[in-house]
Symmetry: C3
Subunit: 206 residues, 3 copies
């Protein structure tokens, strides 16, 4: 589907630029900015493909993805001065990336005829692991584990998509519904600061 | 072997619950608790399978493992108030997990007819990598590298198991001996605070 | 080529010993020293092989590499007192490791007939990922992202090598040129403290 391909390119550009800003906050050099952009944008799909034995990886088959994400990361350096004005725009792009990656990840697992639980996980790995790798390489506790319904949005998107397909609803309609629902949930979560309840455990407390 | 399957379920439940407590200490949200539980319980076997090209991964073939570890992690939140009373019980379960994972990892490599060194490493990856991933995601230096004979217990268990099989001793007897020896060594190490000697190097010291 | 095999052994020994010193700075135990040495020396090639679906991994096919890197790591403990005198020698060995790993990684991708961009990435993964894993396991922000032209040297070496082969220059001559050029660039970068420009971004700044 051509729309999904276009959204995919938008998504990897957005993820790469967001990662480049994270790199800039840690004063990484230009090569580091570039590498962090590529790992963040393409890492989720790569981990999914490795885990599901789905070769070649997307960037091995289509190396121009590496060029696109590298250019996006380097462009962020040039655009740094105006990036803060684009903050809300990037939150939207990042949310689009999350749901698009999720649908693509579900499609890969569906094509491999894997069980539905694994389809949902495949979507979540594709949507979320890039950000986890970025946080590990920046030496942070991954945000995924702590905030903002990120993984939950991915799971909800995947569940809607899989449920719709199971009910034999038209494929493109299901995809549109899942994308829009996930996107809306993510934007509402950001807008109203929805969070999952946290688990606070103090080993020494009795 | 049915006993090994039962012990495996006990092991992934124990690892997931231990990871959930680590998540609680870092105030992760419920989704993070769940994810950290799954990664810790199933990550060692997954890395082993990826490294040895042994597909599908256990949780891809048996997605109910994901359900079991998720439920175990979430149950930990409900049981948090009484978890400290179960501390010693969990140390025992965790030790059982370590040796059971090790034996299972050795079996995978043996079935692939890999060299004996790789069989030992396969056992160690299965037994130890889940905990390393947990520590990386919690932004700690992995405990594995610093304490408590954890990796050593896995290596000793694997060596005993492989040596016994080589000597053509009855398979189940060898397995029982390796499990018990590894378990005993681990519990003694915890009880008497045995540690490997550490390497202290100060770059600027002469 | 026999010279490349010899250089490879020198490279994994050097990488393992450097990692052992990093382990010693964090007071890891002997098993941790050993594991960190193996992961650092063999991790880059392993990640490359996993990403490119090139099995078996080198240490699975040749388990004596594990013995060599383990012995090198443990020997570092014994030699700790004189290691600081060998500091410059080790910088040279580490630089040799970087360029040798890069060439070997390019060769793996070339044998798989992958696109040239992927060949360069394959070289870079082989040369640099071991050090990234070492830094993650030591809970540091990977040096790769911050300094010393490390990744850049790998990319330049790979580009020269691939360009030379494309021009149908004699294989061994191209390899020698790429190795020497990469090595020279790395040593000059260390000597004159060349760094890539860094990207400094402050989210709250306007």
């Amino acid at each position: 589907m051509i729309i999904l391909s276009v959204l995919y390119i938008i998504a990897i550009v957005a993820e790469s630029m967001t990662a480049a800003l994270a790199a800039g906050r840690r004063n990484m050099d230009w090569v580091g900015v570039c590498l962090l952009g590529c790992v963040t944008a393409l890492g989720g799909g790569s981990v999914r493909d490795i885990v599901l034995d789905h070769h070649p990886l997307s960037w091995v088959a289509h190396p121009h993805y590496l060029i696109i994400t590298s250019v996006a990361a380097l462009a962020t350096i040039a655009l740094a001065r105006i990036m803060h004005r684009l903050y809300h725009f990037f939150l939207l792009l990042d949310a689009i990336g999350l749901v698009v990656f999720t649908i693509i990840g579900c499609n890969v697992a569906l094509a491999l005829e894997l069980p539905l639980t694994v389809v949902i996980i495949s979507g979540m790995l594709t949507g979320c692991v890039g950000g986890v790798l970025r946080d590990i390489l920046c030496n942070d506790i991954p945000l995924l584990f702590r905030s903002e319904l990120y993984a939950s949005v991915s799971i909800v998107t995947g569940l809607l998509y899989v449920a719709g397909l199971r009910l034999n609803i038209n494929h493109e309609l299901v995809m549109a519904i899942a994308l829009l629902a996930g996107l809306t949930l993510r934007m509402l979560a950001l807008r109203f600061k929805w969070n999952m309840p946290t688990f606070i455990y103090n080993r020494d407390g009795h």
